[in-house]
């Protein structure tokens, strides 16, 4: 951090390299036929879930607030796309633009109540609201399809798997840059200030609740976009998207990846998805015990490496340097 210019240059080079690799990946995968198509699909999902994890981390890592209801906004985004495209014949780009807006509205309403509470109580209230939204979507059979979900979301002809992958990648890169900008802006610094010491933040003149609410809304909007993207990828929206166990996914991803870094949650999320599929390829029975593997991994992270993979990498890096 002390050497701003060199570390940010390294960051840019890393970022551009990764982006280029990701952009040319489908060309390589395309040679593999069906297997390749499957992996393009998996990579698209990874990108979307990475965005979801990053959106949560705006509140979790940077804001220091543990939300157990973040999936609600992810789900709201998904249902927005599904409903608009299925029932109102919206084009995809408009539906994808609406998803973060609707999710932001939902986040504004929920957040207005939640940011009044601290710590554990905040977590439980987000859980309560998340479950409340889940239940509403679940019970409103005529509108949301209830337990069946909404299927057959249309897909524009032009968007084959590869094109959709590229679309998601472009959206992801844009979102990444926006999130990076927000985190480094004076607003982002204010949010960190609140995380570090909420009481003191008030005494340097920061309107804590308003900043937290704004952050909550921004995070909700990105989650909504991710939800919309996943909805279009799967071509359906489903109540599970709002369930609290879905909220746990980006938390795990952030923790595994490292929640005090920008890319940590995205890395964590991708690693987890990849690991699951990797284990499945190694042996089919691994799917049955996937939750055990994930649980043990999580225990190890909680007990021995609370800074996550990025923290681990930095530690090793620092050690080898000195």
């Amino acid at each position: 951090m002390d050497d701003m210019t060199s570390s940010s240059r390294a960051g840019w080079i890393t970022g551009i390299t990764v982006t280029v690799v990701l952009f040319i990946l489908p060309i390589f995968l395309g040679q593999l036929g069906k297997t390749g198509e499957y992996w393009i699909w998996v990579c698209t999902e990874m990108i979307i879930m990475a965005l979801f994890a990053m959106s949560l981390n705006l509140i979790l890592g940077f804001g220091g607030m543990v939300s157990f209801g973040h999936a609600a906004f992810f789900g709201v985004g998904a249902y927005t796309v599904a409903l608009l495209m299925k029932k109102a014949d919206f084009p995809l780009y408009l539906a994808l633009a609406a998803a973060p807006l609707v999710a932001a509205i939902a986040a504004a309403i929920v957040g207005w109540f939640c940011v009044r509470l601290l710590g554990l109580y905040f977590s439980i209230l987000t859980l309560a609201f998340g479950q409340l939204l889940y239940m509403i979507v679940f019970q409103w059979y005529t509108f949301t399809g209830g337990d069946d979900g909404l299927h057959g979301v249309p897909r524009p002809e032009i968007l084959g798997p590869v094109n959709y992958y590229w679309l998601c990648l472009i959206l992801f890169v844009i979102c990444f840059l926006i999130i990076r900008m927000i985190v480094n802006s004076s607003f982002g610094l204010s949010i960190k200030t609140i995380r570090e010491n909420m009481e003191r933040a008030k005494f340097i003149g920061i309107n804590v609740r308003r900043y937290q609410l704004l952050n909550f809304i921004i995070a909700g909007a990105f989650a909504g976009l991710a939800g919309g993207m996943l909805c279009e990828l799967n071509r359906f929206a489903q109540t599970e998207f709002l369930h609290w166990s879905k909220s746990a996914e980006p938390i795990l991803a952030s923790l595994v990846g490292g929640m005090y870094s920008l890319a940590g949650p995205a890395i964590g999320s991708s690693v987890l998805i990849f690991l699951k599929i990797f284990l499945q390829q190694v042996h089919r029975s691994m799917v049955e015990v996937w939750a055990i593997v994930l649980g043990v991994l999580l225990l190890v992270v909680v007990l021995f490496a609370p800074q996550g993979l990025v923290g681990l990498y930095q530690n090793i890096f620092k050690k080898s340097q000195s």
């Binding site: 390294a10 080079i13 890393t14 390299t17 990764v18 690799v21 995968l29 593999l32 036929g33 069906k34 297997t35 390749g36 198509e37 499957y38 992996w39 699909w41 299925k86 679940f138 019970q139 059979y141 209830g146 337990d147 069946d148 979900g149 299927h151 057959g152 249309p154 799967n234 071509r235 359906f236 489903q238 599970e240 998207f241 990849f274 599929i277 990797f278 390829q281 190694v282 799917v287 049955e288 990498y313 890096f317 340097q321």
Partner: protein
């Protein structure tokens, strides 16, 4: 400095990734026909899974022993969708792309089926439903690569209305699981009953979350309006739990309950099953009197040391139709098999059946009867006075089917 590290890391990631790719692309062998089985292994569908699997395994064993199809052996690849549509859809995709399955066969839950059929359509792969039976699959969600060899919710709901309309009850309460299957089933029942018996009154419909097995808050509500009879659209262990819990609430004393009395449910309910309830089954082995069935039941019993449930029989029937079509088309390509399947006649365990070309629905009806204890089967009750309600009597007319199919988006 950091870049060097980073390059190593990136290279490492790429190596692991490529290794996985190589592993996964080698997963398929050329001399087998893979059937992707999206199952509901856990939860309320679990007992069904066992029976379906036993039926499928038996069929595959037999046909492979007879040389397979065009020399290729059949192989089953199983996934557990846990009754969750999103998981089911992802698995359908994974089975087609990564496992290279030629055909998909059916989930238990209709919600999963509705999700999976879309994937099958997208990749133009045949999906065969032998258990999940939403009527929507053949109408509003119809797509040419799907086939249904199980009586669908419309056939069942209307079929039960036909049966019950002959009974004296005038006040019904309905209860069912809150998802596609329950909704379709009870709506079909209501509309057919209204047609046949305008004097019948539906007092209340109680919706229960799929998988919920504690009925303590639902049963008093169900009984509050004092119905004369109850039509329940539960299945599997949810139905079994409902019956067990309804008994001490005195439900059966006040109002008989009708529902899907399949063998697995009867088995798991055991002696808690009241006698004298009118219900239906999809394929009761004890009541179907065809030579194929007799042979099947014997073989099945010898192999598994238990009687074949409806699910085993329907899964087996589904495989008969599918392999028959493959042989006729002399191909395993979906496009060609689809063409043969539409209108295909096949010799099922339930007798001669055909698949209607317009909606890819087999003409399978329901079997209705009254529960009773039987000296032949000690562990469970069976139905007596079983009457078949043929599909032709209650399924949708071709015009109706086409109308609904055209409403589809």
């Amino acid at each position: 400095m950091e870049q060097g590290k980073f390059r190593v890391l990136l290279a490492l990631v790429l190596i692991v990734f490529s290794a996985t790719l190589v592993v996964s692309s080698n997963a398929s062998a050329a001399d087998v026909i893979k059937l992707g089985f999206i199952a509901d292994v856990s939860g309320i569908g679990a007992p069904f899974y066992k029976s379906q699997k036993a039926g499928l395994d038996m069929f595959i064993e037999e046909i492979n022993a007879a040389g397979g199809i065009k020399g290729k052996k059949l192989e089953l690849v199983v996934r557990d969708s846990q009754l969750k549509p999103d998981i089911g859809a992802n698995q359908a995709r994974e089975l087609i792309l990564s496992e290279k399955c030629e055909f998909l066969i059916g989930p238990t839950s209709s919600a999963v089926a509705l999700a999976a059929t879309k994937v099958a359509k997208e990749f133009k792969k045949i999906i065969f439903f032998h258990t999940s039976n939403a009527e929507a699959l053949t109408t509003t969600a119809f797509q040419p690569y799907m086939f249904q060899v199980v009586p669908n919710t419309g056939i069942e709901g209307r079929g039960m209305a036909v049966v019950l309309s002959k009974k004296p009850f005038k006040k019904y309460s309905l209860i069912g699981p809150d998802y596609a299957y329950g909704h379709d089933q009870l709506n079909s029942f209501k509309s057919e009953m209204a047609k046949r018996r305008p004097d019948v009154e539906i007092l209340d419909t109680v919706w229960v979350k799929l998988g919920e097995s504690n009925f303590s808050t639902f049963i008093p509500t169900l009984m509050a309006k004092k119905p004369e009879a109850i039509d329940a659209a539960f299945w599997g262990s949810q139905l079994s739990a409902f019956i067990k819990q309804a008994k001490p609430y005195g439900v059966f004393k006040d109002a008989p309950v009708s529902s899907l009395f399949d063998l697995d449910m009867l088995r798991s309910t055991g002696s808690d099953m009241p006698e004298g309830l009118t219900g239906y089954a999809r394929a009761p082995f004890y009541a179907i009197d065809t030579p194929q069935m007799k042979e099947f039941v014997k073989k099945y019993y010898d192999k598994n040391k238990e009687w074949p449930a409806d699910w085993a029989i329907m899964a087996y029937d589904g495989m008969i139709a599918l392999t028959e079509a493959m042989k006729k088309a002399d191909s395993t390509e979906s496009e060609k098999v689809v063409d043969v399947l539409g209108g295909l006649k096949f010799n099922s365990l339930r007798g001669e059946r055909y698949i209607r070309a317009e909606d890819h629905m087999a003409n399978v009806g329901i079997y209705s009867g009254v529960t009773t204890k039987s000296p032949d089967y000690k562990e469970f009750l069976i139905m007596k006075d079983v009457q078949a309600v043929p599909a032709e009597e209650v399924w949708l007319s071709v015009e109706e089917v086409q109308k609904r199919q055209s409403e589809q988006k």
